[in-house]
Each structure stands twice: as structure tokens, then as C-alpha cells.
């Protein structure tokens, strides 16, 4: 029982950042922008979450700062890929490269140098125990003993689901990802919605990164996102471009990660390097099985050039 509790709780911890970034991916791709810059934006969120939490003394302000910085990064992505119609894969790759540089540089300048080599403790999130519910046996620990952002994430998934499927703007949003020309003929400002989607994606990646550094690790390490942005991108595909699908896919990847970590601790004699490959290989296998591409927005990844008349 204790084993199962451990696996489930650590699966949720691994799944939350994937879900948050994946929800951003859903918004962006449903509007037709293939966003491979989740990784870079998560890294920025992870660093600036720590930075603003350290500077202000409040982890909530840390998350807010991370959201703002990542909104800005999202805006850069948006201008290049929407206004200038540059290749979205190349733009995202550039953003991922530059994020590694900026976070590495700022870590040295603003955190490591200030602490003179000592580890600076950053105000971070503590678990909230929901009264009564969290003292339930098993369920209490598995469902009701996480840090606040975990519950925020579930709420966001529900809200984004309602937005996409139950509101008029959500319908417009999805139609732009399918066929921007039709949306344009109906008088919808295609690029405005796309800008909004990409910036919102940045904001969600910011929360995701800040979750990793302020809820899971309580510090920033260079390259700490280590491919999770791309796993989140895969979760969008595996989850069929829907918010709850992403949530499910993230829990699946989270489980793989949790089992792998548990096996490392059990000293099975298998090289821990090889065990660490499991999440990456699971992602590839999941993509092989997620081939039903009918759900894929038809115009995903294609710039929309409005005819200048």
C-alpha cells in the first residue's frame, strides 16, 4: 500500500508541470501555431520563478513574475511566427537555445554570485492539507495533500475545457486551427486570436516551470527541465489536442517517471542511467500509438498570410 501511495503521489508531482505546459500547447496548436518552444519557456519560468520568489520573498509573486517573463517570450514567438510568418520550428528552436543562455547567465549573475557559492534558500510552496479530507486513509494522501499549484492546475484544465468547447470564442479559436481562411471570411481577426493563444501558452509554461523549481525542487539548476517541454508537446498529441486528454497523457508519463525513480531507489542492479531513459522511450512509444491524427488541427504549423489588397 505504501508503495502504491508513493508511486501515485510522485506520478502526480511529475505530471503537473507536463499538464500545465501541455494545456498551453493545446491553446497554441488549436489556433494553428505549432509550439515547440514549451521547453525553453518552461526553463525561463523555472528560473524566473525562483528569481522573483527570492527577490520578493513570496512564492506566489515568484509564479506571477515567471508568468510575465514567459508571456514576453511567448510574444517574441508570436511576432516571429505570426506577423513575420517565419518557420515555427526554427523560431521555437531559437527560443529554446536563447532560454538556456539567459537562464544560465542570470543564474550566475543574480543567484550564484550573490550567495558567494553558498546555496540560497528561496521561499517556496508548502503542501496544503485540506482539513478532514487529507486525514482520510490512502485517499487523503493520494488526492488531498499536494502543494497549491496542483489544484490550480486541475482547475485550469477544467476552465480551458469549458473555454474551448462551451464558449463562442472557444469555437472560433478551434476553427482558426482548422481553417483560418474560413474564419477570416467570417470577419474574425485570425492573427489576434493566434497572438492571444501563443501568449497564453507562454503564461502556462511560466507556471509550469515555476512549479518545477518552487514546488518540486525548491531551487533552479541549469537545464533542469531536461526535455519535459518536449514530453509535454508529445502529451498534447497523445492526448488528442484536448485539455483532459493532456491531463491523462501527463499522468501516464508521470507514472512512467515515478516507476523509474522508484526502481532507481530499489537498487535492482540495472544501471540507473538506463532507468532514466524510460520517460524518453515511453514518449516515443506513446507517439507511435497516438497515430490517429484526425484530432490534429488541420492548419497546425502553417502561417496564415492574409492577402494584402
Amino acid at each position: 500500500m505504501e508503495f502504491i501511495t508513493y508511486i501515485l503521489t510522485s506520478a502526480v508531482r511529475s505530471a503537473i508541470p507536463l499538464t500545465l505546459a501541455g494545456l498551453g500547447g493545446v491553446l497554441s496548436e488549436r489556433a494553428g501555431i505549432m509550439n515547440l518552444a514549451l521547453e525553453g519557456q518552461m526553463l525561463m519560468g523555472a528560473f524566473f520563478g525562483v528569481y522573483f520568489s527570492y527577490a520578493t520573498g513570496s512564492p506566489w509573486l515568484g509564479v506571477l513574475g515567471a508568468m510575465l517573463v514567459c508571456a514576453l517570450v511567448g510574444l517574441v514567438m508570436a511576432v516571429l511566427s505570426i506577423r513575420l510568418c517565419a518557420n515555427q520550428i526554427v523560431v521555437a528552436t531559437a527560443i529554446n537555445l536563447i532560454s538556456v543562455g539567459i537562464t544560465g547567465y542570470c543564474l550566475k549573475m543574480f543567484i550564484t554570485n550573490i550567495g558567494n557559492g553558498t546555496v540560497i534558500t528561496v521561499p517556496s510552496f508548502r503542501a496544503v492539507s485540506i482539513p478532514v479530507l487529507s486525514s482520510l486513509p490512502f485517499l487523503g494522501e493520494v488526492l488531498f495533500s499536494y502543494k497549491p499549484l496542483t489544484y490550480v492546475t486541475i482547475l485550469l484544465a477544467v476552465l480551458i475545457h469549458i473555454y474551448l468547447y462551451k464558449t463562442k470564442l472557444g469555437l472560433v479559436h478551434r476553427s482558426i486551427g482548422e481553417n483560418p481562411l474560413v474564419a477570416d471570411t467570417l470577419g474574425i481577426n485570425v492573427n489576434l486570436v493566434r497572438y492571444g493563444a501563443v501568449v497564453a501558452c507562454g503564461v502556462l509554461c511560466g507556471i509550469s516551470g515555476a512549479f518545477m523549481s518552487l514546488s518540486n525542487l525548491n531551487q533552479f539548476q541549469n537545464g533542469m527541465v531536461s526535455g519535459r517541454g518536449f514530453i509535454a508537446f508529445a502529451a498534447v498529441i497523445f492526448g488528442g489536442w484536448s485539455p483532459f486528454g493532456v491531463l491523462g497523457a501527463s499522468v501516464f508519463f508521470g507514472l512512467a517517471d515515478a516507476i523509474q525513480m522508484r526502481m532507481q531507489a530499489m537498487q535492482t542492479g540495472i544501471s540507473y542511467h538506463l532507468l532514466q531513459c524510460v520517460p524518453y522511450l515511453c514518449t516515443l512509444v506513446a507517439l507511435v500509438f497516438a497515430r490517429k491524427s484526425a484530432a490534429c488541427p488541420a492548419s497546425d504549423g502553417l502561417p496564415y498570410r492574409k492577402e494584402e489588397t
Binding site: Y280, T283, L284
Partner: protein
């Protein structure tokens, strides 16, 4: 008109570099250092004397290969972010041949070790190629997943069966002298790898300028459907260009082992793979451009270590500069295209 376009195309990377230098100068001034002094130290450390110049060339070699790796696939409109993993696979294969194949003459041993590296890189790249063609899996995601996998597999090997001494730091035995690339100038680190890199650039140029194969690959890259209608096997071109990209990546690792390092140690690559992306984009996917930008970025990398030694400016500054350069190159070519379209429309009117 065409000459003007060519001039604009050539001036753009230069402008991007200039803009990045300016922005970084402002950043340096922002942390209270003198930009002029910083750039002087940077240049001095990179090309200031014969030794630093040859060191820069040594750094250029893997960048040329990873740059060619990204560029070859990009010509086919395939995005190989996997040079890092291919490089690790090439490195471990050539090290294995270099360490464990004893008793061979250098004339046989060295080519064999290089071949092993090239094959390992190509094989590793054939996985995303297959996933792309057979299952339509986005190659950016698959190559990145395989990067992490490759580094972990190589780590498992170096910490496990290939370790020289389990009680010391994790590294393999030394590669036998018969498999080492010869040093070109006595007293420097510059090895014959630079000649191989030049050869690879020439080959790349020939393939895309004078060979039917290269024409097919670029045709698929420019317009997949049109290429298919004209009878080109799109799947075959995609696979071949990805595998050749992998061969270049594998050679980057092999040459780094057989020329520069002499043994495999984890963390030997300071992200040569992602540097290669910057090299290829800045070089506009052309052989000469790739060579020049590999030299420039290699010089920046080397200069940055001198900068970090002598000032408080961390060497990550260079990664930022590299990213800014790439962003400007992308923005520049996009703006160029928009302006061209506008001009074309005016002519029609």
C-alpha cells in the same frame, strides 16, 4: 535585381551578428564592465596568437560537422535537433574501436574507427527517420528524446563495461595511438580533423550543387507534394537526408574522440549539437557559410572562457549572443521575404 537580392542575402547574417554584438555590449555595460575591453579580451582569447588561433580551429571542427548535420536535413525540410545524440553515439563507437581493436596498423585502424563513428551516427539517426516516414512522428520530438537516451546509454557504458578503473572518475581507456588523428603542427592541438571537416564542406557543396541526389533532396524540401508528383520518392529522400545528417553528427563525435580528446569522458560535448543549429542557420545552409559561422562561433566560445577567467562576465553570455544572432537571422530572412513579395506585387500592378 538578382544581384541585389544576393547582396541582401549575404549582408543579412553580418547585420545579425552586428546587432547581437551591440545588444550584448549593452548587457555588458549594464553589469558595470567595459564592452570595448570585454570584446578586446574576447578577440585576444580567440584569435590573438598562434596558439589560440589553432585552439579555435580545433573547436571549429565539431561545429562544422554538427552544422552540416542540421543543414543537410534542413535542406529536405526535416529538422534534425539530434546531432548531440548522434555525436555521442559516434564518439562511443569510435572509442570502442580505438580502444579494443588491437594490433591493427594505423592505415587500417584510423579509418575503421572513423567508419564506426559515422555508422553509429547514421544508425542512430535512422530511428527518427523511420518514425517519421512510418508513423509520421514529429522529428523534433523524436530526435530530442533520442538525444537524452543516447547520452544516458553512453553514460551507462562509460560508468559500466567501458570504464578504465571503477575506483576513479568515469572515463574509458586511452584510444590507441594507431587510431588517433595526427597533429598537424608540432606544439599545437590542431589535428587532421580540420582537413576532414573541410573535405566534408566540399562534399556537401558538391552534393547540393552538382548531384542529382542533392537536387532531389532540395526539391522535396522546397515542396513535398510537387516533388512527389514529379516522381521523386519523398520518403526515400527524407530517410537518406536524415541518415546522412546522422553520419555527419557521428563523425563530429568520432573526430572529437580520435583527434581532440583521446578518450571518452562524460560531458565532453558543451552542447555541440545545439551550437550546430546556430552554425547552420547563420551559414544559411551553404557550405562556405557553415564553415565561416562555425569558425566565428568556435572563436566566440573560446574567447568567452578567457573572458570568464579575466572578468566577472559568465561564459553563458555567448549562448545568449548566439541565440540573439539566430533570432535576428530568422527575423531578417522573414522580413526580406515579405519585402520581396510586396515588391513583386507592385510590379504586377
Amino acid at each position: 535585381m538578382r544581384l541585389r537580392q544576393k547582396l541582401i542575402a549575404a549582408a543579412m547574417p553580418a547585420l545579425a551578428i552586428l546587432a547581437a554584438l551591440l545588444i550584448v555590449a549593452v548587457m555588458i555595460a549594464g553589469v558595470g564592465e567595459s564592452p570595448a575591453e570585454a570584446y578586446r579580451i574576447l578577440a585576444q582569447g580567440a584569435v590573438g596568437d598562434w596558439r589560440s588561433l589553432t585552439d579555435t580551429l580545433v573547436k571549429t571542427v565539431p561545429l562544422i560537422f554538427t552544422g552540416l548535420s542540421f543543414a543537410f536535413a534542413a535542406k529536405c525540410n526535416i529538422w534534425n535537433i539530434g546531432a548531440e545524440g548522434q555525436l555521442y553515439m559516434g564518439a562511443v563507437a569510435s572509442t570502442a574501436v580505438g580502444v579494443y581493436c588491437t594490433g591493427l596498423p594505423a592505415l587500417l585502424h584510423l579509418p575503421l574507427a572513423l567508419l564506426a563513428g559515422a555508422l553509429a551516427g547514421g544508425l542512430w539517426a535512422s530511428i527518427p527517420a523511420w518514425l517519421k516516414v512510418r508513423f509520421k512522428i514529429n522529428e523534433v520530438v523524436s530526435t530530442i528524446m533520442l538525444n537524452y537516451t543516447a547520452i544516458l546509454v553512453v553514460s551507462a557504458l562509460v560508468y559500466g563495461p567501458m570504464i578504465e578503473d571503477p575506483f576513479k572518475s568515469p572515463q574509458t581507456c586511452k584510444i590507441l595511438p594507431t587510431a588517433r588523428l595526427p597533429v598537424l603542427f608540432e606544439g599545437t592541438k590542431l589535428h587532421a580533423g580540420i582537413l576532414l571537416a573541410l573535405l566534408a564542406c566540399v562534399l556537401y557543396h558538391l552534393i547540393f550543387r552538382h548531384m542529382l541526389f542533392g537536387y532531389r533532396v532540395s526539391a522535396v524540401g522546397k515542396n513535398r507534394e510537387a516533388a512527389r508528383f514529379s516522381g521523386i520518392s519523398v520518403e526515400r529522400s527524407i530517410c537518406m537526408s536524415m541518415i546522412i545528417a546522422g553520419v555527419f553528427g557521428g563523425l563530429a563525435g568520432a573526430i572529437e574522440m580520435l583527434g581532440t580528446n583521446g578518450l571518452l569522458i562524460i560531458g565532453f560535448s558543451p552542447e555541440y549539437g545545439s551550437d550546430g543549429i546556430a552554425v547552420a542557420l547563420l551559414g544559411q545552409l551553404e557550405a562556405v557559410g557553415i564553415f565561416l559561422s562555425a569558425f566565428l562561433l568556435g572563436a566566440l566560445r573560446l574567447g568567452a572562457t578567457a573572458l570568464q577567467r579575466k572578468t566577472d562576465i559568465p561564459q553563458q553570455m555567448i549562448t545568449i549572443m548566439q541565440g540573439i544572432i539566430v533570432l535576428f537571422v530568422i527575423a531578417g530572412s522573414a522580413i526580406g521575404r515579405i519585402l520581396q513579395n510586396r515588391a513583386a506585387k507592385k510590379e504586377v500592378k
